[in-house]
C-alpha cells in the first residue's frame, strides 16, 4: 500500500520534472531563435559601419570608464594601460583604489606620474570617504580615486560621483576589454533615447595568449572546468542575453563590462551596498524605476563588443562564485517581487521576471529533485525505462543540442576560435558540460539558496592564476 503510494508520487513527480524540463528547454529554444534573428539584424546594421568616423565625431557622448581595484598591485598598471588604449574619442578613465592594503596606489603614482588634485564633485550617491584624488601628468584623462574600503559597489559609487561622462562604463580591473569595444557598445545609446544600459559579451580568456592587457590569440581552454565555463559563457551571452533583446529586454548586465547612462544611475541611487548581486540589482532598479516614472528604461545587449575574463579553475573558487551569484539573484528577485505578473511592467513583469523566477531561481531545486526522483523511480519500477530515456533526452540531449547550436552561431558570425582543434575542443566541452559539471552547479546554487536564507552576504575569497605578462611598473 505504502509502496504503491510512493511509486505513484514518484511517477507523478518524475512527470512533473519532465514537463518542467520541456518548458525550460522550450524557453531556451525560443531564446535561441530570437537570438539568431537579433544577430542577423545586428550584423546587417553594423556591416562595414564607419566606426573610424565615430572616432572623429564631435557629438559622441563622453564615457567614463570606472574600474575598481582592490589589492591589484601586480596587474593594475597593465590594466590601466589597456584601458587607456581603448578606442573612443571622449574617454575618461576613473580608477578607484578601494582601500587596498598593498601598494596599488604607489604603483599607480609611480607608473602614471600622478599628482593630487582637488576637483569639485558632488556626493550624489553614497560611498565611503574619499581620501584623495589624483590625475596623471602622462594621461590627463586618467583620474585615480583613493578611498576607504567599502566593496565593489561602494567603489563604483565613488567613481560615479567623481566621473564627468554622460555615460559610465563599469569595468572589472582584471577584465581585458577589446580595443574597439567601447565604439561598439555605445551603439544603442546613439540609436535609441530609451536605452539606459547596454552590456557586451564576456568571453573566457583562460588558455588564450594574453600580453599587455590584450588577448592576442584566442584559444579554448584545455582544463575541464574552464572548458565547461567557456561553453556556459557562450550560451549565456550569445543566446541567453541576445535573445532577450527581442523578448522584453535583459535583467542582467555583467558587472565586468556594462555601459550605463550616468544620470539614470544617479536617479536610482547608484549601486546598492547590501547585496552581493549589485550589478543585477542596478539593472532591475533602472528598469523598474524607469517604467514607474515613464522615463527611459530599456536595457540592451550588444553581441560584438568583447571583454575577456579569467574564470576560476579551482572547484572551490568556482563553487564560491556560483553560490554568490545565486544568492545575488535570489536577493534581487526578492527585492523586486512586486514586479512579478504585474501588468504595469509589461514584458518585464509578465515575461522576463517570471522566467528568472521559474528557470533561474527555482531551476536548481527542480533539477535536484528530478535527479533524485527519476533514478529512484526507475529503481522502484515507478517509472519505466522508456520514460528514463525520454527524460535523459530532454534533460541532457536537448541541452547538448542547444550548446552545439550556439557554437554553430559563433562559427557563422564571429569565429573567435580560428583553429579546428579549438572548435573540436569546444564541441567536446559542450557534450561534457551536461554530465557532472552542470549537476555540480546545481549543488552550488542550492547551497547559495540555503546560505541566502541564513542571511549570508559575504563574497568569499576569489583567487585566480592571473593572465598575461607582468605589469610594466
Amino acid at each position: 500500500m505504502i509502496y504503491d503510494a510512493i511509486t505513484m508520487v514518484l511517477a507523478g513527480f518524475a512527470w512533473s520534472v519532465f514537463a518542467y524540463f520541456i518548458v525550460v528547454n522550450g524557453c531556451q529554444t525560443a531564446l535561441l531563435v530570437s537570438a539568431t534573428t537579433a544577430m542577423r539584424r545586428h550584423r546587417q546594421r553594423v556591416w562595414q559601419e564607419d566606426r573610424v568616423g565615430l572616432l572623429g565625431s564631435a557629438v559622441t557622448p563622453t564615457i567614463s570608464a570606472l574600474a575598481p581595484a582592490y589589492n591589484e598591485e601586480a596587474n593594475v598598471a597593465e590594466s590601466v594601460h589597456a584601458l587607456m588604449m581603448l578606442q573612443y574619442p571622449a574617454l575618461e578613465v576613473v580608477l578607484i583604489n578601494d582601500g587596498s592594503g598593498d601598494s596599488t596606489l604607489e604603483v599607480l603614482i609611480r607608473t602614471f606620474d600622478l599628482y593630487p588634485i582637488h576637483p569639485i564633485f558632488r556626493n550624489q550617491v553614497q560611498s565611503q570617504r574619499v581620501r584623495g584624488l589624483y590625475r596623471s601628468k602622462i594621461h590627463p584623462q586618467l583620474l585615480v580615486v583613493d578611498k576607504e574600503n567599502g566593496g565593489k559597489a561602494d567603489a563604483l559609487n565613488a567613481g560615479l560621483n567623481c566621473a564627468t561622462g554622460e555615460l559610465v562604463c563599469a569595468i572589472d580591473a582584471d577584465t581585458l576589454i577589446e580595443p574597439d569595444a567601447l565604439l561598439r557598445i555605445v551603439r544603442p545609446f546613439l540609436t535609441d533615447e530609451n536605452v539606459v544600459a547596454a552590456g557586451g559579451t564576456i568571453r573566457v580568456a583562460n588558455g588564450s595568449r594574453v600580453a599587455h592587457g590584450r588577448v592576442l590569440d584566442a584559444r579554448v581552454p584545455r582544463g575541464l572546468l574552464a572548458g565547461c565555463q567557456t561553453v556556459e559563457y557562450l550560451r549565456s551571452f550569445l543566446f541567453g542575453r541576445l535573445g532577450w533583446n527581442n523578448l522584453g529586454g535583459n535583467l542582467i548586465i555583467s558587472g565586468a563590462f556594462g555601459l550605463f547612462r550616468r544620470e539614470s544611475v544617479m536617479q536610482v541611487g547608484g549601486y546598492v551596498h547590501d547585496t552581493v548581486g549589485e550589478d543585477m540589482e542596478l539593472i532591475a532598479d533602472l528598469r523598474r524605476q524607469g517604467q514607474d516614472r515613464g522615463t527611459a528604461s530599456r536595457v540592451d545587449f550588444v553581441p560584438d563588443p568583447v571583454a575577456w575574463t579569467e574564470v576560476p579553475e579551482s572547484w572551490r573558487v568556482l563553487g564560491r562564485q556560483r553560490d554568490r551569484w545565486h544568492r545575488g539573484l535570489t536577493d534581487v528577485l526578492r527585492r523586486h517581487r512586486g514586479v512579478l505578473f504585474n501588468p504595469r511592467y509589461r514584458a518585464l513583469g509578465l515575461v522576463v521576471y517570471p522566467y528568472y523566477v521559474v528557470v533561474e531561481l527555482l531551476g536548481p531545486v527542480v533539477e535536484a529533485l528530478g535527479l533524485i526522483a527519476v533514478p529512484l523511480g526507475l529503481a522502484l519500477g515507478a517509472v519505466d525505462v522508456t520514460f528514463g530515456a525520454l527524460f535523459l533526452a530532454v534533460a541532457y540531449g536537448w541541452g547538448v543540442l542547444l550548446n552545439v547550436a550556439v557554437i554553430a552561431l559563433e562559427e557563422l558570425t564571429y569565429r573567435r576560435y580560428q583553429r579546428w582543434r579549438d572548435l573540436l575542443l569546444l564541441l567536446l566541452w559542450s557534450v561534457v558540460e551536461g554530465v557532472g559539471y552542470r549537476q555540480l552547479t546545481v549543488v552550488w546554487r542550492l547551497l547559495g539558496l540555503w546560505r541566502y536564507t541564513r542571511g549570508r552576504k559575504d563574497w568569499g575569497v576569489m583567487s585566480r592564476k592571473g593572465l598575461g605578462t607582468p605589469a610594466r611598473a
Partner: protein, 319 residues
C-alpha cells in the same frame, strides 16, 4: 586575400608594374578594397579608381543603393562611403524610409558637402530617429564653413524645428556669422534653446557677445546661467568678474561651479573675487570659492584637503 592586400599596397605606392588582382569572393573583395581605402588621400584613391575591381564594386554599390531591400541599400551606401564615390546616388538616400540608410547617407554627406546636401542635413536634425539626428549633427560640424549658409537660413525660419540641435551645430562651427541668427532665439521658452544660444554666442566671440552673455547670467533656468558663466570664463572677459562672483551664491550647484571655474580662468581679477568670497556670509559662495581655490596644480599637494571639501559639499543643494 593577403596577396590582394599586397597588390593593393603596390597600387597605392604608385608601382607601375603590378599584377592583376586574383579573383576573390565578393565579401573578401569588399574587405580588401575597404581596408585599402580607409586611410588614403585623393591621389591614392585616384590610383585605386583605375582598378577594374574598384570600378566594379562602385557600380555594384550604386545598384544596391536602388534595391527594394533596405539591408542591400544600406550595404550600397556604406560601400560608397568607403570607396569615396556615389555623388549621383547617395544624396537621394538622405530621404530613404529606413533610418539606418538615412543615417549612413548622412555620414557619407560629411565628406561630400554641397548646399543641397547641407540643407537636407539641417532638415534631418529634426528626424524622428536619434541616429539620424546625431549623424546629421556630426556631418554638419565636419562640413564646417560649407554648413554655415544652411544653418543660418534654418535659424532664420519663423519656428525652426530642432532649434537646440541646430544651435549646437552653430556653436561647434565657430563662425561669428551665426551669432546674429542665434540671438533671435534668446527669449525662446525652452531653456535648452537659450543655453544653446549662450554657447553660440560664446563660441562666436566679439564685443557684443559679452553683453548678451551677461544678460543670460540672470536667466531663470540654471542650465542657461551655467552655460553663460562658462562662456564668459572661456572668453576671458575679466570685467565680468563681479557678475560671476554674484553667481557663486546661486541656488543651483551647477551655476556655482561654472561661476567658480570661470573666475579661476579669468586669472588675477577672478582669483581676487574668489578670495573675497572666502569671507562671504553666504556659506554656499564661501564653499565653492574654497573648493576652486584649493584645487592644486601639478606638483602641489592637495590630497589631504579633499576630505573637508567633499564633506562641505554634501547635501548643500539649495533647490
Amino acid at each position: 586575400m593577403r596577396v590582394s592586400m599586397h597588390i593593393l599596397a603596390r597600387v597605392l605606392s604608385g608601382d607601375p608594374e603590378r599584377p592583376a588582382l586574383p579573383r576573390l569572393p565578393l565579401d573578401k573583395s569588399i574587405e580588401a578594397v575597404a581596408d585599402a581605402t580607409r586611410s588614403i588621400d585623393d591621389v591614392g584613391r585616384a590610383r585605386l579608381a583605375e582598378l577594374p575591381e574598384y570600378v566594379e564594386l562602385a557600380e555594384r554599390s550604386a545598384r544596391w543603393c536602388t534595391s527594394a531591400l533596405w539591408p542591400r541599400r544600406l550595404k550600397g551606401v556604406r560601400l560608397l562611403l568607403i570607396l569615396g564615390t556615389g555623388q549621383a546616388t547617395v544624396p537621394r538616400l538622405l530621404d530613404d524610409p529606413r533610418p539606418e540608410v538615412r543615417s549612413s547617407a548622412a555620414a557619407w554627406a560629411a565628406n561630400h558637402p554641397s548646399p543641397q546636401v547641407a540643407a537636407r542635413l539641417v532638415r534631418m536634425l529634426s528626424d524622428g530617429d536619434l541616429a539620424c539626428r546625431l549623424t546629421a549633427q556630426g556631418a554638419l560640424i565636419r562640413m564646417g564653413l560649407h554648413a554655415v549658409p544652411a544653418v543660418i537660413s534654418h535659424l532664420a525660419e519663423a519656428a525652426p524645428a530642432s532649434l537646440a540641435s541646430a544651435l549646437l551645430v552653430a556653436s561647434r562651427v565657430h563662425n561669428s556669422a551665426l551669432t546674429g541668427p542665434a540671438l533671435a532665439h534668446r527669449h525662446d521658452s525652452d531653456p535648452a534653446v537659450r543655453a544653446a544660444v549662450a554657447q553660440v554666442i560664446a563660441s562666436g566671440g566679439g564685443p557684443d557677445s559679452i553683453e548678451w552673455l551677461e544678460e543670460l547670467l540672470a536667466d531663470p533656468a540654471a542650465l542657461v546661467r551655467s552655460t553663460a558663466a562658462a562662456g564668459l570664463g572661456g572668453l576671458g572677459h575679466w570685467p565680468s568678474s563681479p557678475l560671476l562672483a554674484d553667481r557663486l551664491g546661486d541656488p543651483a550647484w551647477e551655476v556655482r561651479r561654472a561661476a567658480g571655474l570661470a573666475l579661476d580662468r579669468l586669472g588675477g581679477p577672478g582669483q581676487l573675487y574668489l578670495q573675497r568670497a572666502l569671507q562671504s556670509t553666504d556659506r554656499f559662495a564661501q564653499d565653492m570659492a574654497r573648493q576652486v581655490l584649493d584645487r592644486a596644480s601639478p606638483g602641489q599637494g592637495a590630497a589631504g584637503r579633499v576630505e573637508a571639501a567633499v564633506l562641505a559639499i554634501d547635501g548643500q543643494e539649495r533647490k
